[in-house]
Subunit: 305 residues, 4 copies
Amino acid sequence: MKDKLESALAKGRKAAATGKVADYIPELGKADPNALAVACCDMDGQITAAGDTETTITIQSISKVVSLALSMIDCGEKKVFSAVGVDPTADPFNSIMRLEMRAPHRPQNPLINAGAIVVLSLLPYRDSLSRYEAVLDLTKKLCSNHSISSNEAVYLSEKATSDRNRSLAYFLRSVGSLEGDIEDILDSYFHQCAIACTVRDLAVMGATLANSGVNPVSGERVLSPRIALTLRALMAICGLYDGSGEFALRVGIPAKSGVGGGIMASAPGNMGLATVGPSLDPKGNSTGGVRVMEILSDQLGLRVL
Amino acid sequence: MKDKLESALAKGRKAAATGKVADYIPELGKADPNALAVACCDMDGQITAAGDTETTITIQSISKVVSLALSMIDCGEKKVFSAVGVDPTADPFNSIMRLEMRAPHRPQNPLINAGAIVVLSLLPYRDSLSRYEAVLDLTKKLCSNHSISSNEAVYLSEKATSDRNRSLAYFLRSVGSLEGDIEDILDSYFHQCAIACTVRDLAVMGATLANSGVNPVSGERVLSPRIALTLRALMAICGLYDGSGEFALRVGIPAKSGVGGGIMASAPGNMGLATVGPSLDPKGNSTGGVRVMEILSDQLGLRVL
Amino acid sequence: MKDKLESALAKGRKAAATGKVADYIPELGKADPNALAVACCDMDGQITAAGDTETTITIQSISKVVSLALSMIDCGEKKVFSAVGVDPTADPFNSIMRLEMRAPHRPQNPLINAGAIVVLSLLPYRDSLSRYEAVLDLTKKLCSNHSISSNEAVYLSEKATSDRNRSLAYFLRSVGSLEGDIEDILDSYFHQCAIACTVRDLAVMGATLANSGVNPVSGERVLSPRIALTLRALMAICGLYDGSGEFALRVGIPAKSGVGGGIMASAPGNMGLATVGPSLDPKGNSTGGVRVMEILSDQLGLRVL
Amino acid sequence: MKDKLESALAKGRKAAATGKVADYIPELGKADPNALAVACCDMDGQITAAGDTETTITIQSISKVVSLALSMIDCGEKKVFSAVGVDPTADPFNSIMRLEMRAPHRPQNPLINAGAIVVLSLLPYRDSLSRYEAVLDLTKKLCSNHSISSNEAVYLSEKATSDRNRSLAYFLRSVGSLEGDIEDILDSYFHQCAIACTVRDLAVMGATLANSGVNPVSGERVLSPRIALTLRALMAICGLYDGSGEFALRVGIPAKSGVGGGIMASAPGNMGLATVGPSLDPKGNSTGGVRVMEILSDQLGLRVL
């Protein structure tokens, strides 16, 4: 396995060189564009990793999977999916126009920014910090890594610059699709996006989803099978923003990407697979990561589509 | 003239009964739906008024004309119209989607909310209050009424509830179409929208525009002829939100409406004409006011289109 | 007057050089980009002209004014304006997206392509040719020139290439906003767009609208005052496609342009003014023509806004 | 297996009663709203069926999968996917607005109407009939049923009424995204949509895709493994129009629906599964069919997401 990962990684480095590190959040711009790592975690909890495995990235949009899971646990599926849709979208992750254009004026799905913000607003915690801590706690369990914490510099940088997310949140409240204190909700959102982890953490998270909610490393049931499959299904159709279609063709397994450069994938009943590579394509997905996953999906027979 | 106004007003009351007071800002909902008043001011400064002439309304979007004038004075036409367009729009006054949909991502014109907010952001004042006071001061000169002030309850009500305007402002800053402190800019915006005036004040403002910038009551040159005609031209094509086309057909003179129920019209070289009537049609224009203007435009031969 | 026209024309030639002849219809591409002419017709029917006054162009979208007038005569205002709106639009003349995006799914106004096609479909003639001939006949009366005919090469070229107009027509029928035989209706549309005329013809047409429907050359009442003012009002707000706002500011009189290079303007109670200049700006308006009108509106005091 | 199908079918009948037969094509409106059938075909070519298995429907949009496969065989993947995208869409299957709104102005994917029409236009056949016959021939091989033919009444009904598809085609040609004779291309499209088949045919087609392109009944390799997986991946993300997200959650296997009432699903390496039930939900998917698939996906462990 290690050899296969090394080999895929070597081929992926060329693709990594074609991307560009996200810099719309100043702190993100400091990431190493050449870093590339891959890891997998099988159903026995066996982890194999290759490349720059010590590189730490912020999970960014991958956190949307965690907060969605938490809201399904805390609020129930019904409440969550009356507040956000389950439809794929052809618009960029931070798009606002469809919210005005089409009724009902609610987010298309929970994995675009608007949807993730609405999902967070449903959580029954008393303030921004406790809401964030609940997401962080679930992240730790999904990754079986209790030392995970957030990168405070990225958190503050994102909080200071995120005009588009504020615009989305105020719009959603203006059409009745979101309730609550917007700065408080967004504070949790920026904080959860800044959770820092390694490629191993993401591989374990993917494995937990692949294993129907039982973390194969810790043996703990973290999510119900129903929540695990809901997350996988949504990841399959809208996990890579408006690049989800291409990913389905090239890789063919449920996955979620983040602009920090991570991709967390879940081959059901088989393994979790993750990559870290901060160079992104124009849609916000890791160029090296997608390439490595494409090679491994083929070689390891992971494709489910 | 008085008789003509009275007669038009009597006919207009029926139309007023078909509208509905704006209530998206709670304080606005307290307006009297049956109030109706009309006034004209000729080029000699002679004012004639009829109906509920003591009714005071907040000028709301009519203030966009004043702040646009101020920004043309303070910043120059070139700077203003590189920040906002001069195109009519088919979208509601608070629409956001076109800002994302079409490049350049700047407001279509200065008389929709997004445009008015950008125009305000250009003004070279040190804070929200001084920016507002400059708009208020110009309003006083345009109306030759130095006792004009804002309705603080409406101002605070608007400030507390205006999610959509916040969404617009953050979006504009996210695409580089607006700079500055958003809450500070919006504070001026809410404050200027709450400037309170009577139908006489609005008639004098219209007369000043009709008189190429010289207030016919005070004799003071308040605006250059160039600014006066720019304001009139924009009012003609987009002064009544997405009801501007119908108003051009029915009334045929440059005008600006506000959701407080006022309409300020300007028959060039002829007179200012104003109505007050808080019952609005679905596009946000006074039902009674439009009807009264339609009758008077015909009877007094005011139509320029 | 002749001197003023000559002088304006001389200044306008520079602007003409910045434009580009329309070539999406192959035959249109053959027009002389340097041709420029101007004419006015006063309320006594006195015509003054300057420049390339013998240049013949096809009226293209200016014909929309004629067919709208005809449909108001034949079908009544009520029927026409329940089929098309009277709202300005921010989209290009051949745009389709708003027809799907917003209910009611009818054209915004009768001066964009979709609207003109719907207006034509309302006309009670038995076939394409008789429908076209009725429009041609009204054109002759508006211009008091009985020798006007269409340019058959342009007509056939347009008919052979007009995919976008076919798309609009089929879309309109699919949403119930248009009835009838589409190729038959479009045939009339292409035919009327190809009506050929000179700058003098267009000046007389503008004068007839300015004179409340009485042709000042022939003395014939061609349109009712009500129809004349409706046409002028619509021209004022949407006569120059999505360049109508800029034209209102720069020139300030009702006008209609065509991609053949003509502009027909109407200063109410004052004069008709027309220009011919096939070099167009990106929005489809004659660069030289707009400049000449801007100069003359100022010098002759034509502005009504 | 037969018992499981019967049991799922019994439960599905209740859902079928909530839908409505498509009637925008008059001939489709004649289908029996109560008909419901299900069939599966395993990797050994063993077919099991239950319910109204003799009901014949037209495949409608399921034919898009066949013509896409044919174009990949005839033109190569590269040519096909430079003409259409691989992105999911949030718009209805016959939507046009995004084609104008966003560059490149090409269809989002080959499974919406616009995309299917473009795909057909790429096929190198000399006329409408031979193009249709090539699609029909591939359909026969995918279903291993050489008696399949089209329902000529539905074909002619669709051809006579399909304004929206004509609008899409002309629009696509106007922006350079489609070449060729539009009526000729559309004729093939209407013809292939009218191909008539039973639930058994669709189950075998699904099994061929599930079996990487080898028809398990005939043993013939009909498609390359690469084409089979491309079809499955696209079906997974956009096979049920704008209801694809909900289907991914509820059923979790690649599938394609048609407004004739069919659903053809493909559980990779496992089985083809098909349902027939003409009662549709508002998005155009069989209500009874989706419910039956949901039950069977769960009971048979077919879910791949």
